[in-house]
């Protein structure tokens, strides 16, 4: 049985019963942990990274208990041609791409900075979008976003349908077959495992600790803090080095802000991209069109009421 956090409890009761808790003791208790309530972002200063992979190993070590423990043999899934078995359990030491056992990896780019040919190394993982499609479009609520801006996939609820990966602009979540809830439902008919990705060490943050990758980095490449402060800092660094920013506006804004000494479209050409290896393209806000339709929704009931009143008015006129 999982413990429901106090904040979660307050929000559930608020939403269901519509209780006004603002002035109650519960609301005051929730405010006692203010840091968790505001969106936190990370700043990744690419020019500082030396590509030592300390962060990668720290992430693997720190999150090892969350990694999948698939049961074999895997259930036969239909149709086999459309439901590929994705098994990383024998390849847990792969660190050159994202996998269910590797939520962070280092990309390499040979670039020219001030006439000098250098190699830049870029830590890559989930961007923790401000309005994350992986969370919002998950049909079961298995992916969740927390008030502090992180998004994570609940491995007890995920069915491994991979929709989150399809709708993610960077194809971040990675699937492991043979684990999770689908095994207890209709394993051959629906689902195919569990999706895994960086959860920004949500459990560490809950305890007031820093994510493992940030803690382990010998070069202090990453910092974490309130998003507006992180953005200020990012712009300050970018100004100092004549650099560029990625993640501020991508997909409508993310909670991962990169600063680079070279433009990101150049970096994007130099890094290896593909399956499990995210790009650095500009990304438009993928949830924006849905948001606009949702806002237009307000006219629907008004139009319905007006149409009905119009009809009734006409009918009463006819009767007279």
């Amino acid at each position: 049985m999982k413990k429901i956090s106090r904040r979660e409890f307050i929000k559930t009761s608020f939403a269901t019963a519509g209780t006004v808790v603002a002035s109650s003791g519960m609301a005051k208790a929730a405010n006692a942990v203010p840091r968790r309530e505001e969106p936190l972002a990370t700043l990744i200063d690419i020019s500082k990274c030396i590509g030592c992979e300390e962060c990668v190993f720290a992430c693997q070590e720190s999150n090892a208990t969350k990694f999948p423990k698939p049961k074999k043999p895997f259930p036969k899934m239909v149709p086999t041609s459309r439901v590929p078995v994705e098994d990383w359990s024998e390849k847990q030491d792969v660190t050159d791409r994202l996998t269910p056992y590797n939520w962070l990896y280092i990309q390499h780019a040979q670039v020219n900075v001030d006439g000098e040919e250098i190699e830049l190394t870029i830590p890559r993982r989930c961007m923790h979008c401000e309005n994350p499609p992986c969370v919002k479009l998950c049909p079961w609520g298995a992916a969740k976003q927390e008030d502090n801006g992180l998004s994570r996939i609940d491995s007890d609820l995920c069915l491994g349908g991979s929709k989150c990966k399809t709708v993610c602009p960077w194809d971040i979540p990675q699937r492991q077959t043979g684990t999770g809830l689908y095994l207890d439902l209709l394993p051959s008919m629906a689902g195919n495992g569990v999706m895994y990705k960086c959860d920004r060490c949500y459990d560490k943050l809950e305890n007031g600790e820093k994510p493992a990758c940030i803690e382990a980095c010998p070069e202090d490449v990453q910092i974490i803090g309130p998003r507006d402060e992180i953005l200020k800092q990012a712009h300050k660094i970018a100004k100092e080095i004549g650099g560029y920013i990625y993640g501020e506006h991508e997909n409508g804004g993310t909670n991962t802000i990169y600063v680079s000494p070279v433009p990101f479209d150049l970096l994007n050409k130099k890094i290896e991209t593909g399956v499990g290896k995210p790009h650095l393209f500009k990304v438009k806000d993928l949830m924006a069109d849905g948001t606009n339709i949702a806002k237009a929704m307000i006219i629907a009931p008004i139009a319905g009421v007006l149409a009905a009143l119009g009809k009734i008015h006409m009918q009463s006129k006819e009767k007279k």
Partner: protein, 154 residues
């Protein structure tokens, strides 16, 4: 009157058809089961497209439902003998609109609801949809609703 009822029924069924189809497409099933491979149905596997279609048909459906509700309050013609099934259908439609609207709010930027409440919304929305579809299917089979004729039998 009969003509209005027939038009009403047609709007109701077509909106309900698209809303249900695009709703089921929110689950990753149409590609898996080759339905999106049928020419003309490729859009069923495009999650953003089905997301918009679901929203747009919801706008039409809510507009239509409010029209019917207001009309119902003012013109009480032969509506008084609703069966239990009819009341269940009305309740599930209201439930679908309420849960659906809350889900649209959830999809705006921010975290207005708890994770547990979102799961409740997801599951109840699907459950209410299954109830409505089953009852409508039974009515269609029993011939109590005639889609393309002028009559509505009681």
């Amino acid at each position: 009157m009969k003509k209005t009822l027939r038009i009403r029924n047609l709007i109701y069924f077509f909106t309900l058809f698209f809303i249900a189809l695009s709703g089921f497409a929110q689950m990753p099933i149409f590609k898996r089961y080759y339905i999106a491979d049928i020419p003309g149905l490729g859009w069923l596997a495009q999650f953003y497209v089905t997301h918009y279609i679901h929203y747009i048909s919801a706008v039409i459906f809510i507009g239509f439902a409010t029209y019917v509700m207001v009309d119902f309050f003012f013109v009480k013609i032969k509506y008084d003998k609703f069966s239990f099934v009819a009341y269940t259908k009305i309740a599930s439609i209201i439930g679908l609109i309420v849960t659906g609207t809350l889900m649209m709010i959830k999809n705006l930027s921010g975290t207005p609801f708890s994770a547990g409440f979102i799961i409740f919304l997801d599951i109840s929305h699907l459950g209410l949809c299954m109830i409505l579809i089953s009852l409508t299917a039974v009515d269609l089979i029993k011939g109590q609703i005639k889609l393309f004729s002028n009559e509505i039998t009681k």
